[in-house]
Amino acid sequence: MLRFAALISVCLMLAAPSSAQQADAPIQQLIQSQSDLILKSSRRSIGPAIDALANSGLPEAQVVLDKWQTREMWVNEETGLFVYAEEIDRDTLRIFDFADGSEIGVVSDDGFDQIKPNSGIRGLIGTALVQFQLSDPNPETRQRALDAIERGAEESHLAALRASLASETDETILARKKRLERLLTIAYGATNQERIEAIQSFGGDLGVDVRAALNPLLAVRVEAAETLPEADDIGRVLEPGSEVLSRDEAYELLVRADLAKPRISLEDQRNALIENISDGQVAGIQVAMLDSQSARDMAYAALADQGTVTPVATEAEVDERLANHVFYERYIGAPPEVVVAAQLALKSIENKVALNQTFDLSLDALSLASIYFLAAIGLAITFGVMGVINMAHGEFIMMGAYTGYVVQLFIPDYTLSILVAIPLAFAVTFGAGVAMERLVIRWLYHRPLETLLATFGISIALQQIAKNIFGTQARPLTAPGWLDGSLVINDIVSISYIRIAIFVLALLFLALFLFVMNRTRLGLEVRAVTQNPRMAASMGINPDKINMLTFGFGSGIAGIAGVAIGLYAKVTSEMGSDYIVQSFMTVVVGGVGNIWGTLLGATMVGFLQKGIEWFNPSNTLAAQTYMILFIILFIQFRPKGIIALKGRAAEA
């Protein structure tokens, strides 16, 4: 019974909405005055309506624009009054009055039409809203308004931005507003003086936004004339046939300016000739004769003489026209004084950018060098110290990386899994290295070429086994969250944390190597055995054991390097072979048997590759090719590497 009563009351309410709406409020009247345009809702004609609202000075105008933009404005079909509304469900609205934001009531949506502005109109409304948002009490709204201006600045924004400066309380937002105000002044400043001052205030600023604001000022249009005009908005003089202006483009320019006869493309010429074939002849020339370009030119000229086709310029005419005209750039982006200021500012910015880019490139090169060093340090032990060519070294790196991948399958926490994976990778590859040394390498200590081939056999077997187990697709080895992102120094220089981590790891390895080789008993014995195994054996050192441990140590380090490289690149069964030649190069270039040499070698290879890439950024393959060629030549002139061992150690 009670429910029934409630139902009735709802029905009553729906039937008779409260009529408390203030039809004569100024805002409502303003909307009414523009209602035709609003209801028409066309992007082309909506401008005045939005302007009227935005410039009305009424505080409620912001709400209207806001609700309009978010499609929450409705119109009462009967009275023509505008309201904003929340949709309670498909058929029911809770409507509000624009005048004071008071709720009018809950009504059925039958009597109301939703105003649905299209995206173009919403964009216009958004622009108009910016001036309100710039002074909005909510700092986030202000930030968003600034974002909107940065995305698409307009002339009207400048005044709004200046007006909002005085009332700004937040320090960071104020700084941002001031910067944006100067940027907008560059583009829309009223006087040249004002613009030049704004430009000069950015001298040496690395921000991308500054360059984006300055570059349009330097926009040029290529023009042609018989003589170079005397004007101060003339830029460079261009030579037809140069890189900036090809001969075809230059001539096209003349044709468009009606300074020369048009040319005809070979394609069009051919079609014109085909159209004029009659009795197997074109203008009296046998079709069969037209198998060379000069014959076709002649035939076309003959046709032009007859008047059947439009005459076109011959090559000689083209040459003559091009020689008689001068081609130059005219600045169309800004008045000449502003252009000069912008050029100066850009020049100083470019110098600074170049400096920073060099620095950034060096960081890149350094991190590449660390990767090569990591890949090569195991080899520096097995190949450098022991003289064993291990072609399966790359596969030890791969085994380390796959160990990391398997660990991550079992331990979902990335930080913990990496901490577990590193010692485990060392253990796995240490074991593999010891097994390989015992089973294969020790029988071939004096036969490096056979070692090369046998370890190559192991390498292809290991690669194929990895392929059989893990499949051919790349497996991810995910870095912990705190290694995500990058250290951003400015808009140009940044380096990802993972590269920093690899760099640090490379330094750690260097320290570890130096410590083990110079400060431990194992290192002493290793050096003794590699220098003179018989003497070492007479001193009570077991060379077999030392060789085994050394090889295991080198392989284990390769395993850890594998984890690090896996974090940086994908884990595949072929990742080892990607590094093996470069690793050997690194060791050989640096000088066999010297860890500092390996360090220098890796640095050289890394910097060299990045340097070559800088000349030809789109082509890493070319960079690698040239780098290898360079190394081949380098070895011709320093066959023993950068740091060559001297004396007895060199013969051991």
Partner: protein
């Protein structure tokens, strides 16, 4: 002064019976395949298998070159498959150009106007380089229209590369593993270069359609394959005779001595670098010719064929066959590559272990790798060693010492007299 009567030298054939045996077997094999082929015989052997056999003969030829440079001269070159590939590219350029030219001329013949030379050239360039987004001939195609010039390139390009590289490397006395790594780097650089689209050789698409001989489109592949088979057999025979001749005389003794003890040969007054350079260049040329015969049978060549791993496989074949004996290289290349085709072609029966099925397509490489380790460790003579057992040839007892101090020197077990 009295004339000292030198002992009359025996004829070549009698001094080297193995050459005659080899040539006889090769001739028998060629005749046999011809009789069994589809093109000229009773059709027991399919055309594709004839091509496989023809390709195998080319691989035997390049293995022969590898044996000469590694087994006889001690230079473990990991670059000979690059020379092989270069030969293939050289002939492939002509094949592709000439065939495309015919197609373009046919399509232009229907046009109302006779084509100008420029139109023909543009048409061919668009056909060939469309896949890499270019439509102009790169400079290295300047001679592609001419068969004689490209045939010369088959010999000159690998030869010149080997000459320059070898001169640089031998002059600065790079030997042993360093030389191997250096040749490997050269191979890697070359393949990386060819992988680029702007290398002018269609990047990683490579050259394709090489099995179709220009102007002979009506000749069936069963006949063409036999022509190439005969060509390959002839090249192998000539190559074998050439290699046998090179290693037989005084020259051969010098290069074997360089292999075992380079320093001693140098102190005896021989220009070691020149000898090495001659061998290195000669083998590169042989490899180039082998490649030029191989790729028209394969039908396609791309930079992956030049990757360093291919050259290492070449060393593997020679080692498995037995280095330092010419027939060993041939046996190794034929045996391993045919076995490889059999296993990877999915013809080998899988082994079901109950819990796991060994599929040879996946596990053949593992078996090859490990058997290679086994050969290196336990049977340095390779398959060729079986011949020694057959003719009861004993190895010398050198108390475990190698034939010389150099890295390429033969091991005691490998020495044959």
């Amino acid at each position: 002064m009295t004339e000292v009567a030198l002992p009359r030298r025996q004829p070549f054939a009698l001094r080297f019976p193995s050459v005659m045996v080899f040539l006889a077997i090769l001739a028998l094999f060629t005749v046999g395949v011809t009789i069994l082929s589809e093109g000229f015989g009773i059709g027991v052997i399919s055309t594709s298998f004839v091509k496989t056999l023809g390709k195998t003969l080319c691989l035997c030829l390049v293995a022969l070159a590898m044996d000469l440079v590694w087994g006889y001269c001690g230079i473990l070159s990991l670059g000979h498959m690059a020379f092989f590939g270069l030969g293939g590219y050289a002939i492939g350029m002509w094949l592709m150009y000439a065939r495309t030219e015919i197609i373009v001329l046919e399509s232009l013949a229907a046009a109302p106007l006779p084509p100008t030379p420029q139109e023909v050239s543009d048409g061919i360039a668009t056909q060939i380089f469309g896949v890499v987004g270019a439509s102009e001939f790169p400079p290295i195609w300047a001679f592609a229209h001419s068969l004689p010039l490209q045939l010369a390139a088959v010999v000159i390009v690998p030869g010149l590369l080997a000459l320059v590289f070898g001169w640089l490397a031998f002059r600065s006395r790079v030997t042993g593993v360093y030389l191997s790594i250096l040749t490997q780097a050269m191979t890697l650089a070359l393949s990386l270069h060819l992988f680029q689209n702007d290398s002018g050789l269609r990047g990683n698409n490579g050259l394709s359609g090489l099995q179709n001989l220009p102007g002979l489109s009506e000749v069936p592949q069963s006949i063409v394959s036999m022509w190439f088979f005969w060509g390959s057999a002839l090249a192998l025979a000539l190559g074998y005779i050439l290699c046998a001749w090179v290693v037989s005389g005084k020259f051969g003794s010098v290069i074997r001595a360089i292999r075992d003890d380079e320093a001693r040969v140098r102190f005896l007054g021989y220009p070691v670098e020149t000898f090495k350079l001659v061998i290195f260049t000669l083998t590169a040329v042989i490899a180039g010719i082998a490649g030029a015969l191989y790729y028209p049978q394969a039908g396609i060549i791309n930079p992956a064929e030049i990757a360093p791993i291919a050259s290492i496989y070449l060393a593997v074949w020679v080692a498995i066959g037995g280095r330092g004996r010419l027939y060993g290289a041939v046996i190794g290349a034929a045996f391993v590559s045919l076995l490889s085709t059999w296993f990877t072609g999915g013809q080998a029966p899988d082994i079901n272990l109950g819990f796991y099925t060994i599929s040879w397509v996946d596990w053949w490489t593992v078996l090859l790798g490990l058997s290679f380790v086994g050969v290196t460790l336990f049977a340095p003579k390779g398959i060729g060693g079986l011949v020694d057992i057959l003719i009861d040839q004993k190895s010398p007892n050198r108390h475990g010492a190698d034939l010389g101090p150099d890295q390429g020197a033969l091991r005691e077990q490998e020495a044959d007299k």
